[in-house]
Symmetry: C2
Subunit: 392 residues, 2 copies
């Protein structure tokens, strides 16, 4: 077990608390009902930071409308909507409860959900924070690995909405912008893999191939210098080290949309190849999202599972999503507590724009928290030791 | 400092030694003289496992001949040849000396150099091993990260040459096929970065951007499922964790050959973008080779340095290659000692062919060492603990 650093030292009576502290959970979100699918897709295809299109307004709306019935059918098959709101609610509630113990100096902690493409939207979160009298806020991405298409787009929306709503000076901010190899997160993923392995017949468990699958990105994003593939790969390595390289593993990328060129190998292509190689036991491990969503419940559990079955992959299973797993909640609380304790505005990478970035909005930080430093030097991700000073 | 696991417990008198043990150092090699450039390029362009071409024999020879004068000029500019043979000699000598202490049970250790495209070739190594009466051999790739284009091609050549020379049963083998995050290797790289930072004016050292650069690969190799980008990214992450994320960093890929599609972003493109962003301090860190070679001495030190200078990157420096650095020698010896002590034939990933592999030769292991296990379960890379058993 990863030993938490920020021990919950009780504060002396009468000691000044710095709270309340808002933990703003950033994620893409998902439609809660079938009727929400249209607006959800429209927000997505109108977002230049996710999917840059020529004639964005017109073409984006057109594509969203055209895809809506097909995507509605998929949501209908998984219960009529995305569970991401429910999971994020549960994660937030449990996280702040633990965080109050881990970081009494900044208690009480309140969580706010800011989805990029679904309710509650960023504006909803900000207005609620204002109503609650929040002053200090932490923007906490729920994507473990950085991408400008995910965390970047969410943060840019946050800064834009702050300005649009006239809340520029309402809150002071710091950002948890990535946590791809935080030991508590890695431990939670490793546990879920162990749980997934129990779905296999005992005699087969030693021969299971672990197929890590992350959402793909267009190659144009990768070529711009996005950190995503490096950080996803780092997560995979850390998980496998944690497991002692107990099983063979592969990393692939799912959910690409033709005809663009996307990051590969594609998960579907890999499943086909594994079928051709007569692999019989495959455990697919979602590695870039932390809750169940359509890519796990439909794309993996229905589409890929059917494909695998046709190909003769007898045991095709999925590791459970982290959802409200206590070990994952602990990771969220630890990451937030370490961030608050380190008094840093962001990771050492946040201010580094992609080499070929053309979006002037990127890597903004409006009204930075006064007590926090920009933390370039030393342990910027909070859980590492600085070894550099030796030679300097 | 990483604490070595295999302590040099002295053997009781009269105890049977298992040695001599051959450590066969696999690498691409390089032309030692200008006259060697032609044959070197010809071997390279005739290797289907590195560069598959239509009409390989004819087209490969043609391209090699056409490129020879240009490449000869580059080697002339770096002293008339590649230093990789000298560096590998020194690494081998120092490694086996330390290995004899770390692993007296398998002593004496002898190193043999098997280059894929330059002298000494694989056949030279095998014949010398036979002449020396070697029985037990370890094929030790000198590429830290796996790729079918590098380690894979070298190993396939090894197995082919064994058969061609009638040496199928002459030696028993095990393989060290990758070591992307071995702590002693990571420590050595981190030290070299610290050394590189001393090349900057003290006032600038905190603002240096670390640009990790690895040799690129064609996208076709990546799409086949090659582990290279995942393992390179893992090395970068481990080095940055070791450094406590002291500096901003990027990962890019160099040495692509037009007009094919290669893994990106390209190092050259990133340097151009950093120039446009008015970065003034860049430390480039070669991360996929361990000795100086034309990609460090010419492409980085001459070509990229000139480009950076033109772009106004005032301080463009390169971290020294590992070469005969004592910390790196220690890493090589530890990796070999841990491999021998673990009695494993290869890593847990070696037998896993790329999903879309069409090369039946791949992942062979001829005449495996009797005492070693195939090591699927548990600590297959030797330095990790198994955490899996909990759930099984």
């Amino acid at each position: 077990m990863y030993a938490p650093n920020p021990t919950a030292a009780p504060l002396p009576n009468g000691c000044q608390h710095a709270g309340p502290t808002a933990i703003v959970m950033l994620n893409l979100g998902g439609p809660q009902t079938i009727d929400d699918v249209g607006p959800y897709l429209e927000r997505m295809f109108l977002d230049r930071e996710l999917i840059p299109l020529p004639f964005q307004e017109q073409l984006g709306r057109f594509i969203a409308r055209r895809r809506t019935p097909k995507i509605q059918r998929k949501y209908a098959q998984i219960g009529g909507g995305s569970p991401i709101y429910q999971w994020t609610q549960r994660q937030g509630q449990a996280m702040v409860k633990l965080l109050d113990q881990l970081s009494p100096e900044t208690a009480p902690h309140r969580f706010y959900i800011a989805f990029r493409y679904a309710n509650p939207l960023t504006a909803d979160a900000l207005q609620q924070m204002q109503a609650d009298g929040i002053q200090r806020a932490v923007a906490f991405t729920q994507y473990p690995q950085w991408s400008c298409s995910t965390t970047g787009a969410s943060l840019n929306e946050l800064w834009r909405e702050l300005l649009r709503l006239g809340l520029r000076d309402a809150f002071t901010w710091s950002v948890i912008d990535r946590w791809p190899t935080h030991p508590a997160f890695i431990e939670a993923v490793a546990n879920k893999i162990c749980e997934g392995l129990t779905y296999f017949p005992p005699a087969e468990r030693g021969n299971v191939l672990l197929l890590f699958s992350a959402h793909s990105l267009p190659l144009s994003v990768i070529e711009r210098g996005d950190a995503y593939p490096q950080e996803v790969a780092a997560t995979v390595q850390a998980v496998m080290e944690r497991l002692g390289f107990s099983h063979e593993f592969l990393l692939a990328y799912q959910s690409d949309i033709k005809p663009f060129k996307w990051l590969r190998p594609s998960t579907e292509q890999v499943i086909r190849a594994l079928g051709a190689q007569r692999r019989r036991n495959v455990l697919i491990v979602p590695i870039a999202f932390t809750s169940d969503h359509i890519e796990t419940l439909h794309e993996i559990d229905i589409e890929f599972a059917e494909l695998a079955h046709e190909l003769g992959i007898t045991n095709f299973k999925r590791a459970p999503a982290l959802n409200d797993d206590p070990c994952f909640i602990r990771a969220l609380a630890l990451i937030a507590a370490e961030h608050l304790r380190a008094e840093q505005l962001h990771s050492s990478q946040y201010k580094l724009r992609c080499p070929s970035c053309e979006n002037a909005m990127c890597r903004t930080l409006i009204n930075p928290a006064k007590s926090a430093s920009s933390g370039r030097a030393g342990g910027a991700l909070g859980w590492s030791e600085t070894a550099l000073s030796r030679a300097m």
